[in-house]
């Protein structure tokens, strides 16, 4: 029995992906990316985090318009996108799949171009979500050379594995599988084709120091903005 929650492993993975970024922006309903940012700050990293939905002390005084203007100017290093569907060409669909209607594209069609790096993040790892080709492109994974584009996908993180994006070949490469999963299962549960090394590493489990921070200062910081998430993951530890 693992002594950490899946959400904690994912937050630690995202924290590593954020790496040495100076400014990370977090959009709608993204408690795990927000947790990753809070973890980095708790570790003493001088990271600027712009949380669009921060309830008290929100960094924006012109609403979400300011987030997009910052991104357009190049002031945002890392952003996160999810997807009702994500395909092997890193296209993102937030609109519809078959008869199913989803919330909508949000700012994806802009942020995917303007943020320096985008971390694709979707917990569900299934052929339903990771498809050969999306039904609708909310935001394209790549653009022709004449189309202005500052950034694009860095990686795709799911509840079971981490893929690195290879902009040259426009394909994903399996970077690691999370503890409890096997590469063969990942192949079976992924609807698109991808590259993989002979031997696939295991995603590192959270260290005891990371767990200590997550359940202490990080939980306290996240709870006001994502109360339901904090209750679910940290139950007692999240009392603000």
């Amino acid at each position: 029995m693992a002594s950490w929650a899946r959400e904690e492993l994912l937050a630690c993975s995202i924290a590593r992906l954020i790496g040495d970024a100076a400014h990370v922006a977090v959009g709608a309903a993204s408690p795990i990316p927000a947790t990753a940012c809070a973890l980095l700050r708790a570790q003493g990293r001088p990271l600027r985090v712009s949380l669009l939905h921060k309830r008290a002390g929100n960094p924006f005084t012109e609403g979400s318009r300011e987030l997009f203007d910052l991104a357009g100017q190049g002031r945002i290093d890392v952003f996160f996108l999810g997807g009702a569907q994500i395909d092997g060409a890193a296209n993102v669909n937030l609109v519809q799949a078959g008869a199913h209607r989803f919330a909508g594209s949000f700012g994806s069609a802009f942020m995917y171009f303007t943020a320096r790096r985008t971390i694709l993040f979707r917990e569900e790892h299934s052929p339903r979500v990771l498809v050969p080709k999306v039904d609708f492109i909310s935001a394209p994974g790549s653009s022709p050379p004449q189309v202005w584009r500052r950034g694009g996908a860095q990686a795709l993180l799911t509840g079971k594995a981490l893929f690195a994006w290879q902009p040259q070949g426009k394909r994903f490469r399996l970077a690691s599988v999370h503890p409890g999963n096997r590469p063969a299962e990942i192949r079976e549960l992924t609807g698109f084709d991808y590259d993989a090394p002979e031997s696939v590493p295991l995603t590192p489990a959270p260290s005891s120091e990371e767990i200590r921070l997550l359940r202490g200062p990080v939980a306290r910081e996240i709870a006001p903005d994502y109360p339901d998430f904090a209750r679910r993951v940290w139950a007692s530890g999240a009392a603000a």
Binding site: P31, S64, A103, S108, F136, I137, S138
Partner: protein
């Protein structure tokens, strides 16, 4: 582009009177759930059986749109998303969109902002980076691509056509007797108001004096030239929040998300919190069942 009027604000009695100012079929601009939604007016629109509203999400919508859609008030939604955030999918929107009962005009956030900014300036369009290669382009005849006229290299760029809402609707912390309203940090509401033909506002409290004469308040003020009608509505954003006055009622929204998954559950919700909570009724809109 149409000429827009210099409005002179009309003080009305309550949220019902504001709802009466919003005609059926109106192109109605609304803020997201986190940004001062005039929920008392939204409930009054349901009660007055408003029909065929064309909602514009600036740039996304949530609870208020789901309520209006479920109550049959809406013909179309133009938005970058409709979602209840942490409470999950917007159930009435999802069902209406999937059944084809609702026309959905998909957008992406900065295209909405840019279209409103074009209207603010009285120009026909505003260019924006990104978006090219998105399937949204094929659905939006009003989004055009041109070659950047200032570049000698191939450089296609998308244009957001000016968005001209008929009515902007939101809730404010204060109004003063001059008809100025205080929206604080929610300056995106000023953008909506600048772009809209008419702006209807409810407010928590009336403040004595002219807020524009107060240097600390003035930067958070939307001046009365944009405001066409305003009315008091204490806790007028509930169950959504009002800055530091009252927080969003998460438990209520979670309960709504659950109830509204079925038509019957939604009707029950309307009965408990909209039909029974009209003006003069005993049930206070601030009393949450959840």
């Amino acid at each position: 582009m149409h000429d827009l009027p210099a409005n002179s604000p009309q003080f009305l009695a309550d949220a019902e009177a504001i709802a009466a100012q919003i005609p059926d079929g109106a192109y109605l601009a609304l803020p997201p759930d986190y940004s001062l939604v005039a929920m008392a007016v939204v409930r009054a629109l349901v009660r007055r059986r408003a029909r065929a509203l064309r909602l514009l999400g600036v740039p996304v919508l949530g609870f208020c749109a789901d309520l209006l859609i479920g109550a049959g008030c809406v013909a179309s939604v133009e938005s970058s998303a409709v979602s209840l955030g942490e409470a999950g999918a917007a159930p009435r929107f999802t069902e209406a969109a999937e059944s084809g009962a609702l026309r959905v005009i998909d957008a992406t956030c900065p295209m909405v902002h840019s279209g409103l900014q074009a209207s603010e300036k009285g120009v026909p369009f505003m260019p924006l980076r990104g978006v090219l290669g998105s399937d949204l382009m094929a659905r939006r005849a009003d989004w055009k691509v041109i070659q950047n006229p200032l570049s000698t290299q191939p450089d296609p760029i998308v244009l957001a056509s000016a968005i001209e809402p008929e009515v902007a609707l939101f809730h404010a912390r204060w109004a003063d007797r001059c008809g100025n309203v205080w929206i604080g940090r929610r300056r995106e509401l000023a953008t909506i108001a600048h772009a809209a033909r008419r702006t209807c506002v409810t407010y928590e409290a009336l403040r004595e004096g002219d807020m524009l004469e107060d240097e600390l308040l003035a930067p958070g003020v939307l001046a009365s030239v944009y405001v066409s009608a305003l009315a008091p509505a204490a806790r007028g954003a509930w169950p959504l929040g009002m800055a530091d006055l009252y927080a969003i009622d998460d438990a209520h929204l979670m309960q709504y998300a659950k109830d509204a998954r079925t038509r019957e559950g939604f009707e029950r919700y309307l009965n408990d919190f909209v039909w029974q909570a009209g003006p003069g009724k005993s049930s206070s809109p601030a009393a949450s069942r959840a």
